[in-house]
């Protein structure tokens, strides 16, 4: 039920107006409620101009030919198989791997850090999470080439010296698993940013109560700790999924387009690498991404609301 409400709010300013007016009967009250709402208007207008209109334009252009006539050809070109559908498939696979693994590791790491007593360490990690969650692109790609690239990578040569060159055992930095490894560099810090407040919601009293009732550490986590934080953790993973799915610069720099990912295909479209007659397919790809991201953000919002029952 919450989900459908959420979807109905997808066009923010319009539904915002409806929300404000809902439930008021007298016309005088309507005027008054409009007046109370007025200070929020600059914000709503800004979001509408900066986000609403560009999004609507993408949706509109997805259904038009280059000349401006209505067409279903763009959407059809994507959904009927071929490279674009394969791009979505690979992107979804990558986003899945690059959200579940960093999600688990980021939670463990956030817990290890937030229970630590070293203030300096906590401070360094807190600011590092903010910086690294926004790090990406060519620099990140290059760092990993220098670390675990095929020939001259520092770690590659260390491992090769002890007789285990990962490249001889199926590892490839430029394939899906390699890109997922690189994505972890910003996904784990992002997870830490997002999940730490939820971990703070675990109250010491619960632990003490469980121990007084004779629960072991395992019992405490199995029946109290994990059930309380799980919705938040999964919600955060949905968010990571969205970021992994949207990431462009890193994959582009690392693979140079050698694996088909939807954001890279949109980038190619932006750079003018398109077949004649398919000029607007890029917009349809954008529409596809918006639809898939809407699903994952809805999952996030739904689970987050569930978790707020226990966590303030």
């Amino acid at each position: 039920m919450k989900t459908s409400e959420f979807a109905a709010d997808a066009l923010p300013p319009l539904s915002a107006g409806a929300e404000r007016g809902r439930g008021r009967r007298a016309p005088g009250a309507l005027v008054r409620s409009l007046r109370t709402g007025a200070p929020v208007l600059p914000f709503l207008i800004y979001v509408f101009l900066g986000l609403g209109i560009p999004a609507l334009v993408i949706v509109d252009l997805a259904f038009r030919t280059k000349a401006g006539q209505f067409t279903m050809a763009n959407v059809h070109a994507i959904t009927s198989g071929g490279q674009y559908l394969a791009g979505f498939e690979t992107s979804l696979k990558l986003a899945f791997v690059a959200s579940v693994i960093p999600g688990v590791l980021g939670t463990l790491l956030a817990y290890a850090i937030s229970t630590s007593r070293h203030e300096t360490l906590k401070r360094l990690v807190a600011s590092a999470s903010g910086v690294l969650a926004n790090f990406g692109g060519v620099n990140l790609a290059f760092m990993f080439v220098a670390t675990i690239g095929a020939g001259a990578g520092v770690v590659t040569s260390w491992l090769a010296r002890v007789g285990f060159n990962p490249w001889d055992h199926g590892f490839n930095l430029y394939k899906l698993s390699g890109v997922a490894l690189v994505y972890m560099y910003f996904q784990v810090p992002l997870m830490m940013l997002v999940v730490t407040p939820a971990l703070h919601g675990l109250r010491p009293a619960w632990r003490e109560a469980a121990e007084n009732l004779g629960a072991s550490t395992w019992y405490y986590w199995r029946y109290v700790g994990i059930p309380v934080i799980l919705p938040s953790v999964i919600a955060s993973m949905f968010l990571l999924f969205g970021f992994g799915f949207s990431a462009y610069a890193t994959a582009e720099a690392l693979t140079g387009g050698s694996i088909a990912l939807t954001p890279i295909q949109i980038g190619a479209f932006l750079n003018g690498n398109v077949i004649a007659g398919q000029e607007n397919v890029g917009y349809a790809l954008g529409l596809g991404m918006i639809v898939l991201l809407l699903i994952s953000v809805t999952g996030y919002a739904f689970l987050q609301r569930r978790s707020s029952r226990w966590l303030r």
């Binding site: 929020v40 979001v47 999004a55 903010g130 990406g136 620099n139 220098a146 550490t217 799915f245 996030y300």
Partner: protein, 283 residues
């Protein structure tokens, strides 16, 4: 859904966590587990930095040398790219604060029912990927705006919104805003004085984490800047990579580490400030 990057919690080190001090062997086991996780994470995050530094700090013969760092200030275009990024970051921060702080405070005070709608609106920037958003923005923006770099600032405000809103929302949620405002108003303060001298100081931690995240976002953003054809610092680093990869990598590492230390400094300054505050209150 109050918890998308409510960095409030991340920067708040006083809150105790659920670790009812276990005794003896169990504590040792937990410490081992934590040590293993931290070591693994440190290796994963620091080794690439080490590798990149090792690559950048080389002379022509491949020996260790600081000459690439010494050569940084004299590189063409770097200065203007750096100042462009700095200007964009400043404008973005000012715009974000002007737009978000009054709105979020107002919603908390007068329109609590509207918070659910705000939750939904502010999550929307995540639904539209940056590469798609810039596609739409470049399509609709008027020419005079497209010829200005500050178009990027306008869009960065949108990009930062999910983090900024949640940070402010959590910060306000922890305050008793209504009482603060009533007290201030009944003592004769106007609205502006109330905002500036009562609410904003109380929101310091939330404002701090919001601006830290905005700063990190603007200084690191590449996709939109490059598609809008402006040479910000990240774009310069990529372009210059063709000319001299050693220097370009040195700049990239330097800017990463400098941003990190700067943010640590900001966070630490706030900590020492509030600690002094608390001591004064206690005595």
């Amino acid at each position: 859904m109050a918890a998308l990057a409510t960095t409030e919690g991340l920067f708040d080190f006083d809150e105790p966590l659920a670790t009812a001090a276990p005794s003896g062997g169990r504590r040792r086991r937990i410490r081992w587990g934590r040590g293993a996780i931290l070591t693994l994470a440190a290796a994963y995050f620091l080794l690439p930095m080490y590798a990149a530094l090792k690559f950048s700090l080389q002379d022509i013969n491949g020996h260790f040398s600081l000459s690439p760092v010494a050569a940084i200030p004299s590189q063409p275009g770097l200065g203007s790219a750096f100042f462009l990024s700095l200007r964009l970051a400043t404008v973005t921060m000012v715009l974000t604060m002007l737009l978000m702080v009054p709105t979020v405070i107002y919603v908390h005070l007068k329109l609590p029912r509207f918070r659910r709608v705000m939750d939904v609106i502010t999550i929307m920037p995540i639904v539209i990927p940056p590469i798609v958003l810039i596609l739409g923005v470049l399509h609709v923006a008027p020419l005079w705006l497209k010829s200005s770099p500050y178009l990027l600032s306008l869009v960065y405000v949108i990009l930062a919104m999910p983090f900024v809103y949640r940070s402010l929302d959590a910060g306000l949620g922890a305050l008793d805003v209504k009482t603060l405002v009533e007290a201030s108003r009944s003592l004769g303060a106007g609205w502006i004085a109330t905002m500036w001298r009562v609410i904003v100081p109380n929101l310091r931690a939330a404002l701090l984490s919001a601006s830290v995240l905005t700063l990190a976002l603007v200084l690191g953003e590449f996709t939109m800047a490059s598609l809008d054809l402006w040479e910000t610092l990240p774009v310069w680093i990529v372009d210059f990579d063709q000319t001299n990869a050693h220097i370009s990598t040195a700049v990239a590492m330097l800017s990463l580490i400098a941003t990190w230390l700067l943010l640590t400094l900001i966070v630490s300054l706030d900590r020492s400030h509030s600690r002094r505050h608390r001591r004064n209150r206690a005595s």
